[in-house]
């Protein structure tokens, strides 16, 4: 299963299993449409990306490619376990590993074509989704903001660029560097999954 870093307890598993059954209407597998029925999710601007993340093979398997149409409970659990809080007493190395895996999850969410970099296009897409266009903000402005953000990243990771340089995109390493300040391993967790656990699932 490859879940060494992410532990989920039996109790949580049964709760999630109930939820899975409820969402999939007692079928064995979950489809995108099932997730779309959640009403609360309607008000989330990046809903589609998140749903995609559940069906993205990269998140379940070591070298998965592409996305699948339906997932079983194992995969559901795997994705959920990314949101597990790290146990209290772990070594620095393990903490780093957990951090990497969570950041990898986030990276995959942005990098939709799986080429290893977040290109300007992909990033623009994300920014647009996040921006409310209720005000004067047009699509162009959103693009502009995304561009500015990319420039910032470029200048941090690659150093100041000449006007003609082409910045391919944010690689995973750059991504790590940027989000260095954010305590991903502790922030990225759902409290629901926060109970003490040492048992591996299944």
């Amino acid at each position: 299963m490859g879940l060494e870093q992410n532990y989920v307890s039996l109790e949580q598993i049964s709760l999630l299993h109930n939820r899975f059954k409820q969402l999939s209407q007692n079928e064995e597998t979950l489809r995108r449409d099932d997730l779309k029925t959640i009403q609360d999710l309607e008000s989330n601007p990046i809903r589609s990306q998140i749903i995609e993340a559940f069906f993205d093979s990269r998140n379940f398997q070591k070298d998965g490619v592409g996305s699948v149409e339906e997932i079983g409970f194992e995969e559901f659990l795997t994705v959920m376990s990314y949101f597990r809080a790290p146990p209290q007493h772990i070594t620095e190395e393990q903490r780093e590993k957990i951090r990497r895996s969570k950041l990898r999850f986030l990276f995959n969410m942005h990098d939709t074509d799986n080429d290893g970099t977040i290109t300007l296009e992909e990033y623009r897409h994300v920014v647009e989704e996040l921006l409310s266009r209720s005000g004067a903000l047009g699509r162009e402005t959103a693009k502009g903001i995304a561009d500015a953000a990319m420039l910032e990243v470029a200048s941090i990771s690659v150093g100041p660029m000449a006007p003609d340089d082409f910045y391919e995109g944010i690689t995973f390493e750059h991504f790590l560097k940027i989000l260095n300040g954010v305590e991903i391993e502790t922030n990225m967790h759902i409290r629901f999954l926060n109970m003490d656990a040492t048992v591996l699932c299944k």
């Binding site: 809903r47 996040l130 409310s132 502009g144 989000l179």
Partner: protein
């Protein structure tokens, strides 16, 4: 500046000249003008053309004068507030205004003739505030946090009452308070009346301080529900004081505890009964729509009085009446009645609140009640403050183990600091029996001081405190753009995964309840029509349509006339040419490329629309805009302003002064609308090439294809556009055709004017613009759509 001074002068002049003589006349020689008519009868020498008869109108006149004065006070306070720059909350200013007024009355009369008497307060001023609060209560939020709210209300209030009472008694025994003849029981009684957090004060102060919705609902819900506890404790200790110490034994105490259960649950149950009554009533009032709005107030007030009569908790009764009836009443009543109710509620509630605060101020200027006992007062202030903090932190510690979303530290601070006492405490204190409790006046004075302290001082300092705390937390470093974006994306991701996991409210119990409610309760309490159309998506869609129409018309008016450009290929409206450059940032060029759609249209017109939210149209903003965006500072600023807020950041929905859609709802609608469009877009691409004769039947909700109010075929035009809802542009040969051109293949047509790109294809099809409201029932448009679908043949729009 000038206008506020003007108002102040006006008021003082008015008060001094007009009210003063009235008061003097009132308290002056009553005997002289005993009975005007009597005198008339006796000394009638000639026909009096005009007579002055004060006593005839005395009581209602005084009442109305005070209401008027309170209104003027609010007006001048608001005017002043611009200059006081939101430092002092409005409630504090009103109290101070009350001081001034009280001073005037006292100066004229040497005695305080206008006091806030408990019956006035409890019968005439409080019920509508509670009704307003409960009618607008965000139910989902309330019930999902109900457990925490109950814990705070019950255990928090009991804790406060017990600790404050006991500590004060301890200090009294230690001799700090001088010679007060107050026993333990009386201290406990005092503790119970001072412990309760007051809903009026909480609303008033939290209006000004924007906190997140969970925090707001916790404090607000607590303030409403703790009345159950307060009433019980007050009555129990009042009875104990009357019984006397020796007669209290275990039986009495257990009776006390039992009475809590009865009072609290009885009150709530009574409220629910009245809510059912109200919903059933509104179900039948189709023919008296003019007065159906009045039923809400009447039944609400009845609920209050009935509970009071049975010595149950009146506030709980009204609270549950409002909470339970809102959904059904809003569905059953005509839209106009709904609007009337909302406006009227706000007027009454605001008015009452103003009067309460003004009177709280006026009452202070009375030499009779003031007995200043420094020790008592200071100790009370200290204890309520400390024990509130301790209570909140302890309870939160316990609650966080069970809550899905923990209550953060800053929220706890705000919660403990926001435990304001208000008029309810004063009312209860004023109701104390002087004979049983000889030291009523020190208690009353202390209560008043506590109220002033919490409302004014804590009100003033609340905002700076919150800002200081928040700023302190977020002041690490200047976040880079990408970090900001990522943080926000992060919030949304977490919220989404929480939703997918199913938050705490989404378990078997709530699902079961929802099913039960849908099937049985709604069947009983809602009109059949309303029931069919309570689909959440439809209601949002309907709201969007209404918004569209309003915007469409106002836009058209703004431009002077509806600018129609007829062209075969494309319509190009260049705003830069039409308006000054000041508008160009806001309005983009709009290019509509019609040739994309195979319509076979002979002629069509295009109206210019400002909003650029349609992904189906390619937009091209001026370079000016682009330049601004590249500027780093601006980009940050724009980002700050326009990022969608996640659940945590939304402002609370209840507000005393306005009931419009708040920002979170706007954002939700917008997100919803965007995703709907993209789905319909994909729907369109999927359906392209399908024969136009396809009829769209009501799609399963999952696919989110909306059944739109039907455009009707020719000949049945009279079905739509009732007399009551005149067509918006009857002379236009246009139709509502749609904002969603890809739906042309179908029958069902959305009468949304969000983008009136493509209008009617055949001139002889007179489609009217606004079958959104084809009857006075807002939900009927969809019902009609239902009918239409079965009746007509699949007429197509492509010939």
């Amino acid at each position: 500046m000038a206008s506020s001074i003007y108002f102040c002068l006006l008021r003082t002049v008015f008060l001094v000249c007009f009210v003063n003589p009235l008061i003097q006349g009132l308290s002056g020689d009553v005997n002289l003008v005993k009975d005007h008519r009597d005198q008339l009868g006796n000394n009638l020498t000639g026909l009096p053309i005009v007579t002055f008869d004060w006593h005839h109108v005395q009581t209602p006149f005084q009442v109305i004068i005070w209401v008027f004065v309170a209104g003027l006070a609010k007006l001048s306070v608001i005017e002043l507030n611009h200059h006081v720059i939101n430092v002092i909350p409005e409630s504090g200013l009103l109290i101070m205004m009350g001081f001034i007024l009280g001073g005037i009355v006292w100066g004229a009369d040497k005695a305080q003739t206008f006091k806030l008497l408990p019956p006035t307060f409890f019968f005439y001023l409080l019920p509508q505030i509670i009704l307003d609060a409960s009618y607008f209560m965000p139910n989902k939020l309330f019930f999902s946090n109900l457990g925490s709210i109950l814990i705070y209300a019950i255990f928090g209030t009991c804790w406060n009452a017990a600790t404050v009472g006991l500590s004060l008694w301890g200090c009294h025994e230690a001799g700090v308070m001088g010679n007060l003849d107050i026993g333990l029981l009386q201290f406990l009684l005092f503790g119970s009346l001072i412990a309760a957090v007051d809903p009026v004060a909480v609303i008033a102060v939290f209006e000004e301080v924007h906190v997140n919705e969970v925090l707001f609902i916790l404090v607000f819900g607590e303030s409403l529900l703790n009345d159950g506890v307060t009433v019980v404790l007050y009555n129990v200790f009042d009875a104990f004081v009357a019984l006397g110490g020796p007669r209290i034994d275990a039986v009495e105490i257990s009776k006390g505890i039992f009475s809590f259960v009865v009072v609290a649950f009885g009150g709530s149950f009574l409220g629910i009964v009245f809510a059912i009554l109200l919903s059933l009533l509104t179900r039948c009032t189709k023919h008296i729509q003019i007065i159906e709005a009045g039923f809400i107030f009447v039944v609400g007030y009845l609920a209050y009085l009935t509970a009071d009569m049975l010595s149950l908790s009146a506030i709980l009764s009204v609270t549950f009446c409002g909470i339970c009836c809102q959904k059904y009443v809003n569905a059953n009543m005509d839209e106009k009645s709904v609007t009337t109710v909302r406006h009227a509620m706000k007027v009454l509630a605001n008015g009452s609140e103003t009067m309460i605060f003004v009177f709280l101020g006026v009452t202070a200027i009375d030499t009779e009640i003031w007995v200043w006992n420094t020790g008592f007062i200071l100790l009370t202030l200290l204890f309520i403050f400390i024990y509130r903090i301790i209570g909140v932190f302890l309870l939160t510690l316990m609650l966080n183990k069970f809550r899905l979303v923990p209550i953060e530290f800053i929220d706890q601070v705000v919660m403990s600091y926001g435990g304001l006492r208000g008029a309810v405490a004063y009312g209860l204190a004023a109701m104390l029996d002087q004979d049983k409790i000889p030291e009523k006046n020190p208690i009353l004075s202390t209560t008043l001081i506590v109220v002033y302290f919490t409302v004014i001082l804590q009100g003033i300092t609340m905002k700076p405190l919150v800002q200081w705390l928040k700023v302190k937390r977020a002041a690490h470093s200047d976040l880079k753009l990408i970090e900001k974006v990522n943080n926000r994306a992060f919030d949304h991701i977490l919220a989404a995964v929480e939703d997918i996991c199913g938050r705490i409210g989404d378990n078997w119990w709530t699902r079961g309840w929802n099913r039960f409610e849908e099937n049985y309760i709604s069947w009983l309490l809602m009109k059949p029509k309303a029931r069919k159309n309570r689909d959440y998506l439809f209601s949002i869609f309907h709201k969007l349509n209404l918004e569209d129409a309003v915007n469409y018309v106002s836009e058209g008016e703004r431009q002077g006339s509806l600018a129609f450009i007829r062209s075969d290929e494309a319509a190009n409206v260049d705003f830069k040419k039409q308006f000054d450059s000041e508008f160009t940032d806001v309005m983009p060029d709009i290019m509509v490329d019609v040739s994309n759609y195979e319509l076979g249209i002979e002629k069509f017109s295009v109206t210019s629309i400002i909003k650029d939210t349609i992904p189906s149209v390619s937009l091209d903003i001026h370079g000016q805009d682009r330049k601004n965006a590249m500027d780093d500072i601006n980009a940050n600023h724009l980002l700050q302003q326009h990022l969608y807020r996640s659940r945590k950041n939304h402002r609370h929905k209840y507000s005393r002064s306005d009931f419009g859609i708040n920002q979170s709802e706007n954002e939700v609608q917008e997100i919803f609308q965007r995703t709907m469009r993209s789905r319909l877009e994909s729907f369109k691409t999927a359906k392209m090439g399908v024969s136009p004769a396809k009829k769209i039947t009501k799609h399963h909700k999952k696919e989110l294809t909306h059944k739109m109010a039907n455009g009707h075929p020719e000949g049945t035009g009279h079905l739509y556009g009732d007399e009551e809802n005149p067509v918006v542009f009857p002379d236009m040969d246009t139709s509502t055709h749609n904002s969603l051109p890809w739906l042309m293949e179908t029958d069902a047509v959305a009468p949304s004017q969000r983008a009136q790109w493509h209008l009617p294809w055949t001139p002889n099809r007179l489609r009217r613009l606004a079958p959104m409201r084809i009857s006075t029932y807002s939900t009927d448009s969809f019902l009609m759509a239902d009918l239409e679908e079965h009746e007509e043949k699949p007429q197509t729009d492509h010939e």
